[in-house]
C-alpha cells in the first residue's frame, strides 16, 4: 500500500478511475482472446468488427460510454464466460445470468453476451454522430437504457435495432425513445434511470426497473435536495460523487423497501422512494461508499479464503440487518456507516432550524449519532472474533476499528446515550419518533430487540450483557 489506510479509505479520488481503466484494459483483453480463438463463440467475428469500430472512436466519446456502470458488468461477464468456455467453473453471477437468459452452456451464454456489446456500439454511434449499420440487428428486451446517455428505448417487450443514422437508433415498429431525468448539482451529473439495472443475474428483483420514467421524474427534486445536502454537510463525499456517481435508480415503496448497491454496477445504486431528503442523503452516502469500498477491494482481497465462505456465507449476526450476514458484508457495513455517522454528526453540529434543517431531521441525526457507534462496536467485535484477514485486509480493518472507537467517543461528547429517542421512517418518507405500547422507544430498546430477534447463534451475548449493565447503571 503506497498511501496510508485512512487516505485510501476516504480520500483517494483515483479509486474510481482505476476501476474504469481496468475495465477498458479488460475489453482489450477480451477482444485479443477472442481474436486468437474466433471459434470460441458464435458471433465472435461480428463482435471483433464492432470492437475495431469502437476502438477508433474519439476517446472522449468512448469514455462517456465506458463510464456507464453496465460497461463494467459487461466486460467482467465476458471474461468469465470466456474462461468458462475454457473449463473454469461459472461464478455466482454468471450462473444466475445463464438461468435468467436460459443459456445451457458457457458458450451459449457467451454468444448471447457478445450480442449485448451492440448496445455500447449503438450508444457510441449516437454520441459521436457516426452512422452504424449492424451486420445482424440487435434483438433487445425493452426498456433498454442506452449506455452512457440519458436515452431509454421503450415500447413492446422485445424489439430490434438495425443501427444508427443521424444520431437516431433505427428500431423496429412501436418503439419510443425517451429521456430519463438528469440531476445536475455543480459537477455532479446523475441519471435517474432504473432501466440501467435490467441486467441478467444481478442478484435481486428488478421488476420495478421497467416502470415508466415518470416515477423517476416525480422524485427528481428530492434527489437534487439530497445531493445539495451532501454538498453542504459532507463536501468530501460530494466531490467523490462528482467523479464517480453515474446513475441512481429509484424504486417505489411496495411495502418491502430496500436500498441496494451491486458490486458489478459501479457508480450506481438503488433507493426506495418516497424519502425525506436528509434521510435520502444519508442513504446516498451509505450506498456510494459501498461503491468506493468495492473499488478499494480491487487492490487486493481483504479476507483469507477458507471453507467458511467469508464473502457469501450468511453465517454471522450483523447489527444492521435482520438476517445473518457474511463477514464481507459486515466489513462493508462498518465502513459505510462510519461515513453515515459523520454526515449526521455534521448535520447535528452545523445545522439548525434557522438554516433549513427541521426538528425531525435534527432528532433523526441525534438518534443516528447514538445508534451507529454502538452498531459499529458490535460489527467490529464480530469481525475481530471471526475474520481471518489478509495483511491488506488487517490494515484496513484496524483503521476502521480505530475510527469506530473515535466515533463512539465523539458520540459521548455530543451527549448521545442509549436513552436517546429512536426515530422511524414512515412509508411516505416522514421522520417520526418511534412509539411502542404508548411509550417512546430508545436506542437501547432498538439494539436489545435486534439482538434478541437476530443473534440466533448468541455470538454477541457479551455485547448484550454490556448494554444491559449500562442501562442498569
Amino acid at each position: 500500500m503506497t498511501i496510508g489506510p485512512h487516505e485510501l479509505l476516504w480520500a483517494d479520488p483515483d479509486v474510481y478511475h482505476r476501476r474504469r481503466e481496468k475495465s477498458a484494459l479488460a475489453l482489450i483483453a477480451v477482444a485479443r482472446a477472442l481474436a486468437s480463438r474466433p471459434s470460441s463463440a458464435p458471433g465472435a467475428g461480428e463482435f471483433l468488427r464492432l470492437y475495431d469500430w469502437v476502438s477508433t472512436a474519439d476517446p472522449d466519446h468512448f469514455t462517456e460510454i465506458w463510464c456507464d456502470p453496465v460497461a463494467y458488468f459487461w466486460v467482467r461477464r465476458a471474461m468469465h464466460f470466456l474462461a468458462s468456455c475454457l473449463g473454469e467453473p461459472l461464478g455466482t453471477v454468471e450462473q444466475a445470468y445463464c438461468d435468467e437468459v436460459g443459456a445451457t452452456s458457457a458458450a451459449e451464454a457467451l454468444a448471447l453476451h457478445l450480442e449485448e456489446f451492440k448496445s455500447f456500439a449503438i450508444a457510441l454511434a449516437i454520441v459521436s454522430g457516426r452512422d452504424l449499420a449492424l451486420e445482424r440487428p440487435y434483438a433487445v428486451s425493452l426498456p433498454l437504457a442506452v449506455p452512457g446517455t440519458d436515452l431509454v428505448i421503450t415500447g413492446p417487450a422485445r424489439a430490434t435495432i438495425a443501427g444508427v443514422s443521424n444520431r437516431t437508433a433505427l428500431t423496429s415498429a412501436g418503439v419510443r425513445i425517451e429521456q430519463c431525468p438528469v440531476v445536475r448539482v455543480d459537477g455532479a451529473r446523475v441519471y435517474l434511470n432504473a432501466a440501467r439495472f435490467r441486467v441478467p443475474g444481478i442478484g435481486f428483483p428488478t421488476d420495478w426497473a421497467a416502470l415508466p420514467l415518470e416515477f423517476q421524474s416525480r422524485h427528481r427534486d428530492t434527489v437534487g435536495d439530497a445531493l445539495r445536502t451532501i454538498r453542504r454537510f459532507q463536501p468530501t463525499t460530494f466531490r467523490h460523487m462528482e467523479e464517480a456517481l453515474h446513475t441512481i435508480a429509484l424504486r417505489p415503496n411496495d411495502g418491502k423497501p430496500f436500498n441496494i448497491s451491486a458490486s458489478e454496477l459501479p457508480g450506481s445504486f438503488v433507493c426506495t422512494m418516497p424519502s425525506d431528503p436528509f434521510a435520502l442523503a444519508g442513504a446516498f452516502i451509505h450506498e456510494f461508499h459501498h461503491n468506493t469500498l468495492f473499488g478499494i477491494e480491487e487492490a487486493g482481497a481483504f479476507f483469507q479464503t477458507s471453507e467458511r465462505d467469508e464473502i457469501e456465507g450468511e453465517n454471522h449476526y450483523s447489527p444492521w440487518v435482520e438476517t445473518l450476514r457474511p463477514l464481507h458484508g459486515i466489513l462493508h457495513a462498518v465502513y459505510v456507516f462510519l461515513a453515515v455517522f459523520r454526515f449526521w454528526t455534521a448535520v447535528a453540529t452545523e445545522g439548525s432550524c434557522d438554516t433549513g434543517v427541521s426538528e425531525a431531521q435534527l432528532a433523526f441525526a441525534r438518534e443516528q449519532i447514538a445508534l451507529i457507534p454502538q452498531q459499529l462496536r458490535i460489527g467490529t467485535n464480530q469481525l475481530r472474533r471471526h475474520a481471518r484477514f489478509t495483511s491488506f485486509g488487517a490494515t484496513i480493518f484496524e483503521a476502521l476499528a480505530a475510527e469506530g472507537a473515535e466515533a463512539e467517543a465523539s458520540s459521548r461528547t455530543m451527549g448521545a446515550s442509549l436513552r436517546t429517542a429512536a426515530m422511524g421512517v414512515t412509508p411516505s418518507g416522514a421522520l417520526r419518533p418511534l412509539i411502542q405500547h404508548g411509550k417512546p422507544v430508545t436506542v437501547a430498546d432498538l439494539l436489545l430487540d435486534h439482538l434478541t430477534k437476530s443473534d440466533v447463534h448468541h455470538e454477541c451475548d457479551a455485547e448484550r450483557s454490556s448494554l444491559e449493565r449500562a442501562l442498569g447503571a
Partner: protein, 61 residues
Amino acid sequence: MKRRTIDLTSLAESRSIEIARMTAGIHAEPDATLWTAALRPTTRGGKCMVAAGDDEPTPSR
C-alpha cells in the same frame, strides 16, 4: 468534475504487459488473475424497514 479520458488506443500500447497478463488470465482463473478481490453481486443497505400501515414509523437502523 470532468472524468479522465480513457483512450483505448494508447492504453493498448502503454499497458501492453497488463493486457497480456489479463488475456492469459482468461485462460486460467479470472478472479485470481484479474479482479483479485472477490466482488459479489450485492450488499444491502440503507433504511432497513419493515412494512407499516397508515404511515406509522418503523425503525430506521
